[in-house]
Symmetry: C3
Subunit: 91 residues, 3 copies
């Protein structure tokens, strides 16, 4: 999924943090699931399209997709994100 | 701790990211600790009760409990969080 | 890097989350890199100095440095962060 989202310019970078364990209740039962945390760096403008793409690619009925807003950051890195997800350069 | 917090409807989901190493100074000495990062998904309204519960369950004198606010997210997932931590359904 | 930033009182705590895999395009090519996620706890006031220090220590030309703002947190822990990065105590 990560490579697809990068090549579609929906994220500039996707960082997979391996081996996560999630606890939650689903339909009344406690569930313990092996999961993967993916931290995706994109822009607010590209978020809606990214969310649709994740929903289409993800195996879950209700995947956990959460957006946090960046308050500060290394300017050249933030500029690079904008360049990478710029739709006009979509290959 | 994670299972307890889920069953008490203080969090909808707790995701444990294993094997973290923390560096910090404690009482003037550099400390390197093996720790576990737990990402807990809840609502702003349930946060105070969650913080009290973590403090009661956590072995540290001053545990690291930090709340970040969600800016955007997959609507059905966010709705599910609210349903799961709704106190009126506390078993 | 983490120990240096703690001893320079630029961060109160640095938590290294090991074994991350990042996908991104660099100069037109898809790259898959083994990386490390470091979650650094500091104050908004110390962030500019922290960013300069990371840039000086980091091997990348454009390192990913992102700041998120804390919305809520365990008061004694937040107070501890402010004490630890208080420049007047720099050794």
């Amino acid at each position: 999924m990560s490579k697809t989202l990068v090549s579609k310019r929906l994220v500039a970078c996707a960082t997979i943090i391996g081996k996560a364990q999630s606890f939650y209740e689903w339909k009344g039962k406690m569930v313990q699931d092996s999961e993967v945390l993916i931290i995706m760096k994109t822009t607010a403008r590209r978020y809606p399209a990214l969310e649709r793409a994740i929903k289409a690619l993800h195996p879950y009925e209700v995947p956990e997709i959460i957006g946090l807003s960046v308050k500060s950051g290394f300017a050249p890195y933030l500029a690079w994100i904008f360049t990478q997800v710029d739709q006009s350069k979509q290959n």
